[in-house]
Amino acid sequence: MTHDTPTRPSPANLHEQLASFVLWIDGVGGYLVCLSHRVTLGHPQGETPVDVAVIADISRHHATIQRDPEGYFLEAVRKVHVNGQAMDKTLLRNSDRITLGNSCQLQFWQPVPVSTSARLDIVSGHRFVQPVQAALLMADTLVIGPASQSHVQVADMTQALIVFRNKSGLAVRWPGPLEINGVQHRDRAALMPGAVVVTEQLTLTLERVH
């Protein structure tokens, strides 16, 4: 343990510390990042908060998305349609449309072929309880870059910034100088909750979800 990274999470408390967080990217948007392999979807009014809360006409716990070695399984707790078909449990594929209840519709994306991380967009005009654009179900890596094969596409960038998991928690990789909470790093650095990452092309902030 070095003194300059006192808040670096240990593997034991990683999930407790980073069950989910909001990634604020200046000039681009906000993203809810869920690290757990099991993500619950529902209305935010419940006593036990769900991971991905959507303000819509749905139940407090409406469905669960589980990441398995085969892929993402959607388990319905209440009425769920995938691509218009009623489902109890199904394997999700890229660009599937998930309808929760009668009106709330999400679209499931796995834009990066080499990464199992996925992205959930709301396509029915509803909103997440956090003011974010999309929910990112992070498996190993998150790619923020100029290509369309990125979890977050930023057209102005010339290279991709990658957030990834390592033994001690989360880390970021960027080909060039980067600054985290005012400390200079090169190429890669550990991430902690509340970190402000500044690179030449991108500024992003990790905010814990309470």
């Binding site: 309808t99 396509v123 029915s124 902030t205």
Partner: protein, 518 residues
């Protein structure tokens, strides 16, 4: 993008900044959440000028579903002014257009234009000219257009002399009269015209390396409307007119014309597009790919050419049956020449923009070339050998003066008068080239196949062709040739008009004549 404030900071008490949204011409824009949980956009107005704030204050209480609402103007501890606005979750039109480099579907563009027009109409009704309409200031939230950055623009237009402005993105939407210091609502209509053009094609009408170059084009160049869907051509022509007096008098007039050509309902009901039971799988933005446009054109052209074949066959058969007096020998050449002539009119006309008072001479010259080609084709059909470089050995009988047939032809009643060979000194090649070439040069054939022609079938046009075809008949050596030439060109005029698609031109609004009261 580098922002002054970071996520979590609270420069304005009560508003916690979450992230930067963008850097505008007036300052930085942030997404912030109030203590109570309300999401707002904060605009940090760097230039602290009374005149600017006054402009904002005029707009603070405007209410319209298509306008980004302004909540308040506040000053922070440093004396900086912050404009508190509605946060629009959608993306700016600039981002959408960047994703669709060939423009969006005309239906979508028309729908967005209605929202845009409603917002600008509201501003104009309140005596405010936006002055800085551009895709970066227009947002799309759940399918609803939101126009932002109004009220701030007065200063910009006044302080930054046109042509000196640094922001080249703004210059693309500047009406030509801005160079003379004329800033009335007509400039917004011009900008909407530019926006409509950009939505339909993916590009602004005037592009250039420098602001000066673009402004010069706004002042002098005519927009290239050939890439625009044809129903919008007349509208854009009027919206992008250089002279503000000839432009649409109000934005709603433009919106109405768009609604008419797109057959939209007169007014659009504004409501949150909450999806129904199972929302149809329609992406929010339908990209118009070049493939679609190409397919449409292909369908149009192939259908047209197909009908031209059928019509040519039908009319040449009809002619032969009615006037041929049982002589079917001319049926085949008449059919082929009718077909060739009508294709030579239909194909280039398809490639040319449907309207436009462009110079007719380039078109005439192209037609002349095609006409000469038809003359050569006619000769080939008649069995004459053309003097070709590769068969120099062949007898160049097409270059020989035409010699009267050995047996006098069976007289045609219609051309009884003309049943007399006239010029036996001219080579048959010259005869044919002269006849068809001149026929295509003297007449504006494209008028017979244009999309927006007065009526679908004009008898007058047919008679014009007949008149010239008759007048030039002396060029052709014998009755046989004369009949084929005259009949095939007349039939071509009929076939072109019948087969070319036709649309009624949107009626040009008559200027209201105001009677001066004495």
């Amino acid at each position: 993008m580098k922002f002054t404030y970071r996520s979590g900071q609270e420069p304005l008490p009560g508003y916690t900044i979450k992230r930067g949204i963008g850097l505008g011409g007036f300052g930085e824009v942030y997404f912030a959440v109030t203590a109570g949980g309300k999401e707002v956009a904060l605009k940090w107005i760097r230039s602290n000028l009374d005149i600017e704030l006054r402009g904002v204050q005029q707009c603070l209480n405007l209410k319209h579903p298509n306008l980004v609402h302004l909540y308040d103007v506040r000053a922070d501890a440093q004396g900086h002014h912050w404009l508190v606005m509605e946060y629009v979750a959608g993306e700016p039109l600039s981002a959408i257009l960047a994703r669709h480099p060939n423009g969006v579907a005309p239906e979508l563009a028309a729908q967005w234009l209605q929202g845009l027009a409603q917002a600008i109409h509201c501003l104009h009704e309140h005596g405010i000219v936006h002055r800085d309409l551009k895709p970066a200031n227009i947002f799309l939230e759940n399918g609803i257009i939101k126009v932002g950055d109004y009220g701030l623009c007065k200063l910009m237009a006044d302080s930054q002399h046109a042509g000196m402005t640094k922001d080249i993105g703004t210059v693309h939407y500047m009406a030509p009269e801005i160079s003379t210091g004329n800033y009335n609502r007509q400039i917004d209509i011009y900008a909407v015209g530019v926006l409509l053009y950009e939505m339909l094609t993916g590009n602004v009408p005037f592009e250039g390396e420098s602001a000066g170059e673009i402004l010069m084009k706004h002042l002098t160049a005519a927009p290239d409307l050939s890439r625009v869907p044809k129903e919008f051509v007349a509208i854009l022509e009027k919206a992008l007119t250089k002279n503000p007096a000839n432009r649409y008098a109000s934005i709603m007039e433009l919106a109405k014309d768009v609604a008419i050509v797109m057959k939209q309902p007169g007014s659009i009901v504004m409501s949150l597009p909450v999806s129904n039971k199972l929302p149809p799988e329609i992406p929010s933005v339908i990209p118009v790919t070049p493939a679609m446009l190409f397919q449409d054109r292909l369908a149009d052209l192939t259908g047209n050419l197909l009908w031209a074949i059928v019509a040519s066959a039908a009319f040449s058969l009809l002619w032969t049956l009615v006037f041929g007096a049982g002589d079917y020998s001319k049926l085949v050449p008449i059919f082929f020449l009718t077909l060739a002539s009508s294709w030579c009119v239909l194909i280039p006309t398809k490639l040319w923009p449907p309207i436009g008072r462009s110079d007719s001479w380039p078109r005439r010259l192209i037609h002349l070339t095609l006409g000469i080609g038809i003359g050569l084709f006619a000769l080939w059909l008649e069995g004459y050998d053309l003097p070709m470089p590769w068969n120099a050995a062949a007898r160049m009988d097409a270059l020989q003066p035409w010699q009267a047939p050995f047996d006098p032809p069976t007289g045609m009643r219609v051309f009884g008068v003309l049943d007399r060979p006239s010029n036996t000194s001219m080579p048959i090649l010259t005869c044919y080239i002269a006849y068809f070439g001149l026929m295509f040069l003297v007449l504006r054939w494209w008028k017979a196949a244009q999309l927006y022609r007065g009526t679908r079938f004009s008898i007058k046009a047919m008679f014009a062709v007949m008149f010239w075809a008759f007048l030039l008949l002396f060029l052709l050596p014998s009755l046989h040739h004369r009949e084929i030439g005259f009949v095939s060109l007349t039939l071509a005029a009929v076939v072109c008009q019948i087969t070319a698609p036709w649309k009624e031109r949107t009626p040009v609004r008559k200027k209201k004549v105001r009677l001066a009261t004495a």
